[in-house]
Amino acid sequence: MTTQADGGGSDFVNNLGKIYGIYAGGFAAFVILLAILEQVGVPDRVIGYLFVFFTLAVYAGVGILSRTVLVSEYYVAGRRVPALYNGMASAADWMSGASFVGLAGSLYILGYDGLAFVLGWTGGYVLVAVLVAPYLRKFGAYTVPDFLAARFGGHIARFLGIIVLFCCSFTYVTAQIYATGIIASRFLGVEFEIAVFVGLLCILLCSMLGGMRAVTWTQVAQYIVLIVAYLIPVVILSAQRYGVPVPQLMYGQALQEIAGLEKQFVAEGLASAETLKPYLQPFTTYNPLNFFGLILCLMIGTASLPHLLMRFFTTPSVRDTRKSVGWSLLFIVVLYFTAPAYAAFAKLEVYQTVIGTSIDALPSWIYTYGNLGLVQICGADATAIDAIKAACFSAGNPDGILGLSELSIDRDVIVIAMPEIAGLPYVIAGLVAAGGLAATLSTADGLLLAIANALSHDIYYKMVDPHASTARRLTIARLLLVLVAIGAAWLASTRPTDILSMVAWAFSLAAAGNFPALVLGVWWKRCTAAGAVAGIVAGFGITLFYVIMTQYGGMGEWFGIKNISAALFGLPAGVIVMVAVSLLTPEPSKEIQDLVDELRRPRGGTLINGGDARPKAA
């Protein structure tokens, strides 16, 4: 049932508004205090440390306060997270390093084509609300494989669900730890590899002690930090430049100025008309097929990612689940509205202050990030003036004026470097670092929890030892959490590829592996266990094959589809196989059909209690 034995937190749930209000006020006061400290001459490095350590300490504190020994609290936060707060937590869960650090940078580089990410990462919530989440909530699962096992009868479906979950979550969490490493190495001045493990430690502190309950309340805290940190630099820039602190409305003008400058660069010979990709022109990087294919894969991936779906298991009712999806999307859209503005302001700033200036007079941030290997000029890392002068001279630019094609900025830098690019005080840069960490940590928390839950609940408890005691299950869950985290951190420290590609793969894998089984499982009673198993294997297998073979195996692209949209092949294959095999096998038993009827109807409480009882008699 939805009402759980009291975990000692009902006062807390009733006073959420007050508690987070005080928290937000305290955070604002902290930022102001640091701004004052900067004015009186406290060094930048100290400001950066204070920012990062204070916020991390708060998250860890929330995690420790929310520690729990109750199974339902550990797995689904006792199912009493109000819709609005679950929306905030889901937004933080959702917006990862890729959104916070990578999205604006991708828009900066790709222009219109980058909007595929903006569309793909928002529109999928319609599918979550309409097709999937309310039904999984009604069912009452602890994990997504739980649902697959009940609907498709047994261990094979559960095991496939775990494999899909593990592959996409592990790819995704590696990207988060990688992003944590980039931020921490820039702001704390430590080695990338060490930074990766420091970030990891914080993630573990938050999620290990209290499971879903701790992760929920830290994620709400992290949402507040990340959204404030994302908005403030652009709001200041918009106010400085156009006198109106609403960047989301004002960047239309910035776009027009960018288009004007592009024409001017071509006229002055700083860019060639052949290689210039006009910022506003569609389909310069992705052709329409790839553009719309990517949108589709990201949207369907949204409705299939276990760590996100799992968040919607925590609301008190099915009705709240639906509302909660709306709140999530609203909180997410606040950031996604702003990302294109971020990109446009950054682009304009770079066009006005870097392109067309003498190489002797480049701003100092070029070297700051050049030394991290993230900014290149004339093909060489911008480590020192002499180095890039020599590189530009040998590249055939003797006049020393920087042309458009000679500057190359890593896409992950744009957001982190923006405060410096715009010459804002260091306290803003520290704020952005804290926001970026909040974004990556909150997502990593959710992902690690999803993996550890699948391992402890689905594999250990359901398949290995069904008689394990509560204490033992939770101990196993925590132990596995640590092991998975260390594995992901090790992989991240080898710097496999860029953040955005890793994340896009995770979406494609989830879409092809989970979506057909989840949707047909709810909406089509005739879908059989054999059909689901065959469909998951076909869809997921083809997608995984395509990603691995095009990325590492030297295979050519099929129909020119990039591997970030790999589910474009796996998804239809999965659906066709699932439908065909279902029609060839006998229809599901009466019990399963009744189960489907029951899980469609909101009324009547969850179908399994504590993730392990039999379906209730109909």
Partner: protein, 86 residues
């Protein structure tokens, strides 16, 4: 389980699902096929095609999810399959 009430409730639910997915498909895909033409129009200082992808479709999706959640709840209540209020 399947009585007349449930059958008509489910067909209304399916109808709502199809409506929502149609609106979703139009604003996620169809409208962006015409980005070139829409960009000829200026809206709030933006080329309209760009604006729709950067903000317009997002606004529609947020409204759509909240509208769906309200509609589905009233269908559930009408047929007596909604959860009790607490």
């Amino acid at each position: 389980m399947a009585n007349g009430n449930d059958v008509s409730w489910w067909s209304r639910t399916k109808g709502l699902m199809i409506t929502c997915l149609a609106i979703w498909a139009i604003f996620s895909f169809v409208i962006h096929f015409f980005v070139g033409g829409l960009n000829e129009i200026t809206f709030l200082g933006f080329p309209l095609g760009y604006y729709m992808a950067a903000q317009g479709s997002l606004i529609v999706c947020v409204i759509l999810v909240f509208w769906f959640s309200g509609r589905q709840d009233s269908i559930d209540r009408e047929f007596g399959v909604a959860e009790d209020d607490y």
